[in-house]
């Protein structure tokens, strides 16, 4: 295990912040440019994962295990969110026969 930990020694925390911001921005862009509901949910997963990685990085940096416990809770929450979200998507598909997010625009008042 020793040499794996040594691999990370030279990386500043700033690079973790920048890397996770890039992944988060990619997720936001995915939500904005796609119309398929499933791809939009996948982009949300991408955002959740970037935040998870940043929490783990801070936790390793500060030597505080609470951050990694938070990541665990976020993962449990993401699993619940995906289950309910995909059920809603299936119901929408059954009613509108399409996965286009625009088919839901009548929900807007």
């Amino acid at each position: 295990m020793g040499n794996i930990v040594e691999q990370i020694q030279g990386v500043p925390l700033n690079h973790y912040i920048i890397f996770c911001s890039i992944i988060f921005a990619i997720g936001v862009t995915g939500v904005l440019i796609r119309r398929n509901v499933i791809i939009i949910m996948m982009s949300i997963e991408l955002m959740l994962n970037s935040v998870n990685l940043l929490l783990a990085a801070f936790s390793a940096y500060r030597g505080d295990p609470s951050g990694q416990v938070f990541v665990f809770f976020v993962m449990a929450l993401a699993a619940a969110e995906v289950a309910v979200g995909l059920a809603i998507i299936i119901m929408v598909y059954r009613n509108t026969k399409s996965l286009d997010i625009e088919s839901l625009s009548k929900l807007r008042w």
Partner: protein, 165 residues
């Protein structure tokens, strides 16, 4: 040290492929590869428990759920709705603006020290389990209720309406 940059580059590349691929099934597969690179990141951080959970829960369960839904709905490239180019460009510009804002905000932070793995073993299952079941016992139990509620909700939502059929 260079392993981090290599894996970070791969993660960004596959994340971009995820949102730009036309075929939704390919998109899911690229997302699986992205999550795998993030798992490698957890291993590099010596967060072994999170690496295993990420591998099993995200790549094993959540992504398979996505793939199942895709197969259930019989999606392919022809059924894929496309946005107009103007909206796409505006979305990409908005995303890049967010990135520029974030990076600009991080410039004021003083340059941090390098990662020191002084407490290298906090990510091991034993230590994390002690924290989880001492300080975070109540949130842990509440999250089980959340999962139960989500399970019941998903079954109720996806069930066929008996009266209609």
């Amino acid at each position: 040290m260079s392993v981090f940059y290599l894996v970070a580059f791969l993660a960004i590349f596959f994340a971009l492929m995820t949102i730009f691929t036309k075929n939704p099934v390919h998109s899911v597969l690229y997302l699986v590869i992205t999550f795998f690179t993030l798992t490698v990141h957890y291993i590099l951080l010596n967060a072994q428990f999170l690496a295993v959970v990420n591998f099993i829960v995200y790549m094993g369960a959540i992504m398979v759920l996505f793939l199942f839904v895709m197969m259930l709905l019989n999606l392919n490239e022809e059924a894929e709705p496309v946005k107009s180019n103007l909206v796409k460009i505006m979305g990409a510009i908005a995303g890049m603006c967010l990135l520029a804002t974030l990076l600009g905000a991080f410039r004021v932070i003083e340059p941090s020290n390098e990662m020191v793995a002084a407490h290298a073993d906090i990510g091991l299952v034993e230590n994390l389990g002690k924290v989880l079941f001492n300080e975070f016992l109540l949130p842990f139990e509440i999250s089980s209720i959340l999962l139960l509620a989500a399970m019941i909700g998903a079954v109720l939502l996806a069930k066929k309406d008996v009266k209609k059929a």
